[in-house]
């Protein structure tokens, strides 16, 4: 599976043991990041190519910091300076970067599937940093870490993956534009693997077709599902992907699907609010809820680096077979 494929393109590349391991490693890297000198020489001499065909300061910065904290060098390729938009073979572009010295690729692309394609072309590790409407596996992993931080009770740790126990039966409601959300696709797979109960909620036009075959419950009535929701995961309304034309108006969306104080009060007291960012304040989420104590949004942002260090470390630090000392 993935370790042979050398890639993390879908959260489905991992199994529960993998996720548990990544979570424990993330905790270790969190400790590293709290040191006075929050940097380790682990991957010095190795170069990470950052291929971003889509603007995303946050994800890009998070990955760059993660790589730098592992002492990697960064090779950056923007859509503006690359030939990626000119119809030149994408394979050739990546092969070039590999020839220049990239030991691994972090790929963000506006087209679904590009990291998957890259992983079939490249012999070096490929990490999906978000592709079109497909997946964003490191986002799901950092959400996983954030939820463990909040809900895990370490005293229960009797078995290897006990760190994941808190997901068993956890009720997660993902609200909003699921159709265009790579975050939702990764989350749905992961939450299903971890035994959580996922409900998707949003206007029908923003639900994927054939969602009935997904391992989720679908509801079109937000107020009915909020009282039984432990984790309310709000998606960004992606106007840039044209979800505007899927809706009569932003106003109607905000009124029916936006989380404001009144809706938030329907949630159980212990429920938390999450959002992958950036937030359209006042559209899918009211500012005061985003900033409230039940919001884990800042935790999500700050956990990104440690989780990405763990993923980069796992994919790049192990060159495969070992030899005797």
């Amino acid at each position: 599976m993935s370790l042979l494929q050398n890639a993390l393109v879908s959260i489905g590349d991992l199994d529960n043991d993998d996720i548990g391991h990544i979570m424990k490693l993330s905790a270790i890297f969190s400790e590293v990041l709290r040191r006075d000198i929050p940097k380790v020489p682990t991957l010095r001499g190795k170069t990470m190519a950052m291929v971003f065909s889509e603007d995303s300061t946050r994800t890009r910065t998070s990955f760059e910091i993660a790589a730098k904290k592992l002492s990697m060098d960064i090779l950056s390729l923007n859509s503006s300076q690359s030939s990626m938009k000119k119809g030149e073979s994408l394979k050739d572009t990546l092969a070039n970067l590999h020839a220049i010295g990239a030991d691994g690729f972090v790929i963000r692309h506006s087209s679904s599937g590009v990291p998957t394609q890259a992983s079939t072309w490249m012999t070096v590790p490929v990490i999906n940093a978000g592709d079109g409407c497909h997946e964003h596996p490191t986002q799901a992993l950092l959400d996983c870490y954030t939820l463990i931080e909040r809900f895990d009770t370490p005293s229960n740790h009797t078995t290897d993956n006990a760190i994941l126990n808190c997901f068993n039966g956890m009720t997660v409601t993902i609200v909003g534009d699921v159709e265009h959300s790579r975050v939702a696709r990764s989350l749905v797979i992961m939450l299903d693997m971890l035994g959580a109960k996922t409900t998707l909620c949003g206007p029908r036009t923003l639900m994927p077709r054939h969602v009935d075959k997904w391992p989720v419950r679908v509801s079109y009535h937000l107020d009915e599902v909020l009282p039984e929701t432990q984790v309310c995961y709000i998606l960004r309304l992606q106007n840039e992907r044209g979800s505007g034309t899927y809706l009569p108006s932003i106003r109607e969306y905000a009124m029916n699907w936006g989380i404001d104080s009144k809706r938030a009060s329907l949630l159980p007291e212990t429920a938390v609010i999450m959002h992958p960012g950036p937030i359209n304040r006042g559209v899918e989420l009211a500012g005061e809820i985003a900033d409230s104590s039940r919001s884990l949004i800042l935790n999500q942002a700050s956990n990104g680096v440690a989780v990405r260090m763990a993923v980069i470390y796992l994919l790049l630090a192990n060159p495969g077979d070992i030899t005797e000392v």
Partner: protein
Amino acid sequence: MTKVLLQGGTLVDATGIRSGLDVLIDNSEIVEIAPNISPPRGARLIDCDGCMISPGLVDLHTHLREPGNEEAETIESGTRAAVAGGYTAVVCMPNTEPPIDNATAVRDILAMSKDALCAVIPAGTITVGREGERLSPMVEMNACGVRLFTDDGRGVQSASVMRRALEYASALGATIAQHCEMEDLAANTVMNEGYLSSVMGVQGAPNCAEELMLERDLELAALCGARIHFMHLSTHGSVELVRRAKLAGMQVTAEVTPHHISLTDDMLSEYNPIYKVNPPLRTRKDITALIRALSDGTIDAIATDHAPHVRESKELPLDQAPPGMIGLETALAVAITVLKDNSGEVGTGRKDASENGRSGNNRSGRTYSTKSNSVKSEYGNSGSAGGGRANNSYSEHLTIDPSVLQYSMNMVDIIAAMSWKPAAIAGLDVASGGRHGGPIVPGAPANLTVFDPSADWRVDAPRLLSKSGNSPFDGLSLTGKVRHTIYEGEPVYLDGRATK
């Protein structure tokens, strides 16, 4: 021109199957058919032992890309691929650059293909520039020999334009061939709309994007009393519509491609643009319906939709890569592999069949190997994730849904769908004054295909004669191999090599 003697082999044509006969060809005509013809002095002897000899195959749907995209294919390379696939005539699509939408363009193609290895018959566009607005000058193109008009690559979106096209063409005795696709529903789609597309996060085309236009055009054809041909059917719903129209006595014909009767949308699970095609690869349910329709005659013809693309363009993100796959050189093999019934009909005429155990049908079931398609199968498969991505081994064999077995076809019907039926649709058959697809009899034009129906071979795309390598069957094992192709009495393809 020297005489050519085809020795041994089994004849298969519209009259049935005859074995143990030699075929003597002289100067583009068949002159004698008899057992053990003694070779005339200087005759070229071609060993057809173990092979079948059929009328040359006719492709209704070839993109030769010239003029405009000669990097992907030219008339020369495309016709070499055609004869390697057993074709002696191809209808080339008019979506070139510039498009074939006037008599000059038609004459240019005819002039350029004068020395080609097989007959090249241009189709003309229905509308000027394939823009779907003004009718092309069909009369002047018809006068140059164009019998089929299509905007292929696009469907005619406007019902009123389509109605006028049907009216106009029917008065010429020409046929409108429609690529059925409601652009409104199918714009920017990259594959079949289904569970897989939803998980992959890509835009899918629903079946009804094809069926709505097909249904509309059937109504329009009925209204005009016009003949209509439907290209590359891909859905079970389309099949039903065509079936009903035929039962109602309409002059409707339909074609299906080799890939639509053999590959499902699962092939797209690694986002490989090689499998991107329009209409998209569908589901097993659709495949079953298409095969059934071929076997009962609802679908008349197998047409390749041979659509070459340069390597670079298929190494793009899935949504940016152009749709299309090559097919000329694999069509007969795919048809035999998928459709051929194994219930031991007539032997292949191989003289030593019983001795070497190759009596024709020793294949292990009607299977063909394909890549694993396990992507995202962990979805909804609680807790048992891992191993989500396809492994790239070729060892797995995908068996065609067993329900299809009941629709398997005999060799005469398979060749019918690839030779005389498409020849009739394109007006290339003997009855229409053409030279293709007719029975193998003395005096008939010597356009013949010699193939070994039981040879197994593995497709190696880089070694195909097409200028492009975008074959979805690359690396797969298929059964049935074209050995020789005779065009107008000349062996243009002999033992794996084009002679020009």
